[in-house]
């Protein structure tokens, strides 16, 4: 295979891995630290996508400046969703922390169904796309990277994903919140007995996690289309990521997202017939041979 196509496929794989990382990192954190298996997690990825299309398309009259649009995607939307999810954590999700994982899974599947219709109620069932004038991926065009021409916007998304992963790592090892969270993932009751307000930590971790998923959806949508199918697709994909990576492991999410991203990108390019089976096949193989996932026995940031 020619070196250019090798590089293009690598780039595509990296981009897909970045999206998978956004969609699934919060899922594994919420599970690892808070013991909540939130099937509806990636539904917030879909929600972020819809909010982003809607916001961008309504910004056309105010400004079309790329910097402002990117700021909306990266800062404003995650912040709004952060607040929203803090409210949800206190209401809808609060009772879920007390029940078995199996029931968590099923109750949050109910949340997906509800969120699906909320999206349909607000934005309708038709696919919607970002208007050309306010689409940062079109505004930014392409750039030359080591001799290949790639989308500048998608490069930015990859960089944001890297920044986000590094930021999370630093948060866990440097900040108080991170250290408490790590302790909670190891022994929830012990932390509680130390007199720490676990509820506040819980809301922070939950909201940060959900906000990252929404950020992923927001960044995803200029280069794609918001459709009702996005939700379920990413629910499955994000579960594949965290199971392959090992539940509760930040490193696992990064590695698994890269593995799926690359295998899918090269798989589609060279063995297109396998496309539908790639993710499930990979998931099955990993669980069969390494039932706890690649890094499942380790803590959040080990």
């Amino acid at each position: 295979m020619p070196i250019e196509s090798l590089m293009v496929n690598t780039f595509n794989g990296l981009y897909f891995a970045a999206l998978l990382f956004f969609a699934s990192v919060g899922l594994t954190l919420v599970f690892g630290i808070l013991n909540l298996l939130n099937m509806a997690h990636a539904a917030f990825y879909g929600l972020g996508a819809y909010v982003a299309v809607w916001t961008l398309n309504n910004m056309g009259d105010i400004t079309t400046s790329t910097v402002v649009l990117l700021a909306v995607l990266v800062l404003v939307i995650p912040l709004v969703v952060f607040v929203l999810s803090a409210v949800l954590d206190k209401t809808v999700f609060a009772p879920l922390y007390e029940i078995e994982p199996v029931y968590q899974l099923l109750a949050t599947f109910g949340v997906i169904l509800m969120l699906d219709d909320v999206i349909k109620f607000i934005w309708g069932a038709s696919p919607i796309t970002v208007d050309g004038a306010v689409d940062p991926s079109r505004q930014l065009g392409t750039l030359d990277l080591l001799g290949i021409s790639v989308s500048a916007y998608r490069s930015v998304v990859i960089l944001i994903a890297i920044a986000c992963a590094v930021g999370l790592y630093l948060m866990f090892v440097k900040t108080k919140l991170g250290k408490i969270s790590q302790a909670m993932s190891e022994d929830y009751e012990m932390v509680q007995m130390l007199g720490i307000n676990v509820n506040r930590v819980r809301i922070m971790i939950f909201s940060i996690s959900v906000a990252i998923a929404a950020l992923g959806g927001a960044l995803f949508v200029p280069f794609a289309t918001a459709t009702p199918a996005v939700t379920l697709e990413y629910v499955l994909l994000s579960f594949a990521v965290i199971v392959i990576g090992g539940l509760g492991s930040l490193k696992g999410v990064v590695v698994a997202a890269l593995v799926i991203g690359m295998v899918r990108s090269f798989g589609i390019a060279y063995y297109p017939a396998l496309e539908l089976a790639i993710v499930f096949g990979l998931m099955a193989v990993v669980i069969i041979f390494k039932p706890e996932g690649l890094f499942g026995d380790e803590g959040v940031v080990e």
Binding site: P2, E4, S5, V8, N9, N12, G13, Y15, F16, L19, D116, D117, K120, G124, A125, S126, P127, T129, D131, G132, S137, R138, T142, S149, S151, F220, F223, A224, T225, T227, P228, A229, V230, E233, R264, S265, F266, G267, I268, A269, Y270, P272, A273, E275, L276
Partner: protein
């Protein structure tokens, strides 16, 4: 062995149909005779027009990814029903009422069970619609079993009547997917310098059928073209970049695709970003593509593509010449602030057939038709459509293929491109003759005449 069996089966069926047909003609003829003798011809003095409206239940996707197609159909039907009722209703006498809409997303189990309920309660005169081919294959035989008239308006699977040749309560006013796929073959025949093709079709029956017919058709007409690769992205795919870069690497002369709806829009926009349309000379996008795609891509729409498929369902196609089409487009645009897409056109054809069928039946029998009579009278009719006469072969419409190139040069009040340089390919060139199985025919099509 297998083919022979199929053929035998088929000739058997057509003989039965023929007999049934001639019996119907005789009955209808004698009835018409009586009516004529009594001097009651005409629609004004018909008794037996039921007092209550003609009740239709629509089957459409109201949720799930294909819902936008259902939405277009729903819009069009609301508009058309209102227009028909403003003129007094069917034959000016009986209003139409859409009493219910069923969400196809509920799945075939639910649809079939509802069909049974409707048949039993007898409060519905006809069911109409259906987007999904698989649903049409499941629901049509069930409706026929229950003797519930079913006007199928959208799905394209050529198997509907080939698998169920004896249905007499079902008609379909949409052309089959053969028209799109073979239409594409006809387009390739007219192109110079096409030697390599890559096909990209959604990974379900619609996509596989199109790919098979297109490839077989190219082979049959002896085109010097090789399909070098066939790709089947997942339905609802959100990231086509891996496909795009692989196709761009191959740089085929032609790209063929039956992706539709949100999929084709995502694919083309990611293709533009990945330089796909610089890498291929020409692209043929036949998945019911038209105004909505051009709207969503706007100025990004590449120029070296042909869009179209089964039917002339492009808002500016024969817009000036055809008054009915002009009114349809203008009214639709005024109501919904967007141009009609394929879902809307398919539904329009359905209502045209219904009006034509009722009128014909009433003229012949001098009474309001039963469900079976109504469906029979929609067989073998023709009515006006944007592409000229829309003809039914038995219960199945045969549509011509129409393709066009994106252009900004148009008079409609939208700021996105529409199509121009239209290519029209007659229905006879893109549909099997009556009684011949589609795949058998595609395997043996002749190069286009003229």
């Amino acid at each position: 062995m297998n083919t022979q069996l199929m053929n035998e089966n088929n000739s058997h069926v057509s003989r039965r149909n023929f007999l049934k047909g001639s019996a119907a003609v005789t009955t209808v003829g004698s009835l018409a005779g009586c009516v004529l003798l009594e001097g009651d011809f005409g629609t004004e003095e018909i008794d037996g027009i039921p007092d209550e409206p003609f009740r239709i239940v629509q089957l459409l996707f109201e949720s799930g990814p294909p819902a936008f197609y259902g939405e277009e159909a729903r819009n069009a039907s609301e508009m058309l029903v209102e227009q028909i009722n403003d003129d007094g209703g069917l034959i000016g006498e009986r209003e139409i009422e859409v009493v219910d809409r069923l969400d196809e997303d509920a799945g075939p189990d639910s649809l079939i069970s509802d069909v049974q309920a409707m048949a039993q309660e007898g409060e519905v005169d006809m069911i109409m619609g259906i987007v999904s081919s698989a649903h049409s294959l499941a629901v049509a035989p069930a409706a026929d079993d229950q003797q519930l008239p079913f006007l199928v308006t959208m799905p394209g699977t050529y198997q509907l009547f080939e698998e169920n040749p004896e249905m007499d309560h079902v008609v379909r006013t949409a052309g089959t997917n053969a028209a799109g796929a073979v239409g594409a073959v006809r387009m390739v025949e007219q192109m110079d310098d096409v030697e390599t093709v890559i096909t990209v079709d959604p990974d379900y029956a619609w996509g596989h059928d199109h790919q098979e017919m297109f490839t077989a058709g190219l082979d049959a007409v002896g085109a010097d073209v090789e399909v070098v690769e066939s790709r089947y992205p997942e339905l609802g795919e959100t990231d086509y970049s891996a496909h795009v870069s692989a196709i761009a690497d191959e740089s085929p002369d032609l790209l063929f695709s039956s992706l539709w709806g949100g999929d084709i829009s995502t694919f083309v926009s990611q293709g533009v970003a990945g330089g796909l349309f610089e890498a291929v000379d020409e692209a043929l996008l036949i998945g019911d593509t038209g105004a909505p795609l051009l709207d969503s891509l706007g100025a990004d729409m590449p120029e070296n593509v042909w869009l179209g498929g089964r039917g002339g369902y492009q808002p500016n196609y024969r817009y000036d010449e055809d008054e009915a089409h002009r009114e349809f487009v203008d009214e639709y645009y005024e109501r919904y602030d967007q141009l009609p897409g394929w879902g809307a056109y398919h539904e329009w054809m359905g209502f045209e057939a219904l009006q034509e069928g009722v009128e014909r039946a009433v003229q012949i029998i001098g009474d309001w038709p039963t469900g079976e009579q109504l469906m029979a009278s929609m067989n073998n009719i023709a009515f006006e459509a944007p592409h000229g006469q829309h003809t039914m072969h038995g219960p199945q419409a045969v549509a011509p293929a129409v393709f066009g190139r994106p252009t900004d040069d148009h008079d409609l009040p939208v700021d996105h491109p529409l199509l121009g340089e239209f290519e029209f390919i007659e229905a006879a060139e893109v549909n099997p003759p009556e009684g011949v199985l589609t795949m058998d025919w595609v395997d043996e099509i002749e190069p286009m005449t003229g």
